[in-house]
Amino acid sequence: MKYIDEYRDPQLARKLLDEIRRKTTRHWTIMEICGGQTHSILRNGIDQLLPDTIELVHGPGCPVCVTPLESIERALEIAAKQEVIFTSFGDMLRVPGSSKDLFMVRSEGGDVRIVFSPLDALQIARVNPGKEVVFFAVGFETTAPANAMAVYQAAREGIENFSVIVSQVMVPPAMRAILLSPDNRVQGFLAAGHVCAVMGYAEYEPVTREFNLPIVPAGFEPVDLLAGILKTVELLEEGRAEVVNLYGRVVSREGNRVAQDTIAKVFEVTDRQWRGIGLIPGSGLTLKAAYSSYDAEKKFNVTHICTGESPLCKSGSVLQGMLKPDACPAFAKECTPGHPLGATMVSSEGACAAYYNYHRTGFPI
């Protein structure tokens, strides 16, 4: 399959691994930002193949993981309403609130549907004028353009029975929060390829200068990741704090201007709570005042719902690269994919779920 097979070529992967071994002279800690990258690293066992001196820590780039529990509680409350058709990407359905998840709401009679695009949700609103259609708009800069487009289209067509729960987050403020933490160990980043496809990589250039470290936008296939790690190691070894784009087939410096304009039309920057991490200033997107009638949390008056996390869950430390999933005392004991204590164990792209699925503790790899 074109654009897949060549990036999964074992011979090329071996060459890159040899080159990484040759270039590495000391211990380096590199964070891959995106949950999709974490998933691919664990699935392909890339961490097992790297020299011991290269430590990969897993970043906060899993949208399901960082969606705050109170957004989920509010979604559950709205989804249970009789007049509502609740639509969401599949991943979100299994994320537990304090007592149930969206699957359970569905089993209790809620009309909860998986959609593949927010525009599909808008279409459901068009053909069900007697129902309120709500879409759970979660994600990073990758999902923001399509989510913005759905709201924009709804407004343009005057569709009033459509609204969104917005839990949009952005990568650069999270990077800064990680780097500013006194416990930070990250020395270089693999930036999330698909976020960069939308936003470009120019916005990382000030971060490299401010924190004096390299940032390498990289893809998701094994060869992409190994090439990204090799480039990061080269930059680290040479002491170069630069952005070097290794996902050239998808990412440009400026990114996708049309997508960025769409985001800017509908959303504005806001402070946002990240599940497990806390409030990161200027790290989220919210609907502009002109589109506030599409805000489901206001429409259904659920903004009073607040909630807390399980005290056993250490997902905040995991999401900031301070704790390896299998070093958490609850990992694979109180916390499993069948009974997750936090969202990093729920999402297929969460670091804890990836460790559980592919590398369970005590298993001799």
Partner: protein, 347 residues
């Protein structure tokens, strides 16, 4: 114009299933006579007793049941009717039995198209004929609109276990070869890509097929095969995990050896789904002592539904109950049971 006054008589010709079709009266009879009997009739069914009286061969008898609720009812490569016949035929066959007789129970939703029902019944008759089994007893119920999704079918089946064959999921031995009869994920992805709401087109068709003649042929030549599974729901991953757990052995498989059609792989990549977790309806996983590997592959490959048969791995002493994949890069990862419903990822 002259109109002859007539007492209104009940309508007996309908285009859709009515509650009265399940009420045991005239309309029930009409349904039997017009839709079911013309296609399914045989010496047992024609008697129309409440039961079939069967003469079974001496020796052990296998008995299995399964219920089919697939949506959509018609999918690329098949429909719920042939799935219901082939599924139960395969469940009997992977136990080393020669499938002989099936029952068929239908739950119909009020308003379901009678033309579609007849198409399904014709498919069942054709599937039964191909598999060499007879549908010897049946039942039909109708439920109100919205109380089921168009049509649910239960089939159960009886088969006679072949002499000298002892297949069980507890029989795996370290050193056994794991063999897979063909590509994985075809059925599940055919269903998923044909569901409403998924706006991409594909040419993926279900692998729905009866495997009993291929299984009988391979057991004829190598009766010492240790275990067989048809990897339906949960896919090959679930089948292998069940075998490993039941026999308290480990299974190691090689990633590059797993055959996946390019279209299926593409759809799985897009949706973020592992093809090993996707359902198959015409595939076989088996464990056999390594000295028989080539013989088994040769027999399987002589059949249409086994022509892509391959060795995918082996049974090991290590990590009992666990399935481990060796990746193309030389690393290893656990292949776990899928957790519930397959969920497309966000990005």
């Amino acid at each position: 114009m002259t109109i002859t006054p007539l007492c209104p008589s009940p309508i007996l010709q309908h285009e859709t299933v009515q509650m009265a079709h399940g009420a045991g009266g005239r309309l029930s009879q009409t349904l039997m006579q017009r839709v079911f009997m013309p296609h399914l009739h045989n010496v047992f069914l024609d008697i129309l007793d409440d039961q079939a009286k069967l003469d079974l061969p001496a020796g052990r008898t296998a008995y299995s049941t399964d219920t089919y609720v697939v949506s959509p009812v018609f999918f690329p490569g098949g429909n719920i009717g042939e799935l219901a016949v082939n599924g139960t035929v395969n469940d009997l066959a992977v136990g080393g039995a020669k499938p002989m007789y099936l029952s068929a129970g239908f739950v119909l939703e009020e308003g379901f198209s009678l033309v579609e029902l007849e198409t399904i019944v014709i498919s069942m008759a054709e599937a039964a004929r191909k598999a060499g089994v007879m549908i010897v007893t049946g039942d039909t119920k109708v439920v109100g609109k919205g109380q089921c999704d168009k049509i649910f079918i239960n089939t159960s089946g009886i088969g006679s276990v072949m002499d000298g064959v002892n297949l069980s999921c507890r029989n795996l031995q370290p050193g056994d070869t794991m063999i897979l009869s063909g590509t994985v994920g075809d059925h599940g992805m055919a269903i998923m890509t044909s569901r409403e709401g998924l706006s991409f087109q594909s040419k993926i068709t279900s692998d729905c097929a009866a495997l009993n003649s291929m299984i009988a042929a391979v057991l004829e030549v190598v009766p010492a095969i240790h275990a067989m599974r048809d990897p339906t729901r949960g896919g090959v991953a679930a089948a292998l995990n069940e075998l490993a757990a039941s026999s308290s052995v480990g299974i190691e498989i090689n990633e590059p050896s797993i055959p996946v059609k390019p279209d299926v792989r593409g759809a799985c990549e897009l949706l973020g789904i592992d093809p090993l977790h996707v359902a198959n309806e015409g595939k076989l996983v088996l464990a056999v002592s390594s000295e028989y590997t080539e013989t088994v592959l040769e027999v399987l490959r002589s059949f249409e539904h086994g022509r892509d048969a391959v060795t995918i791995g082996e049974v090991v002493d290590d990590h009992p109950g666990m399935v481990v994949m060796r990746t193309a890069f030389g690393s290893r990862r656990i292949i776990d049971l899928p957790l519930g419903e397959q969920l497309p990822r966000i990005c």
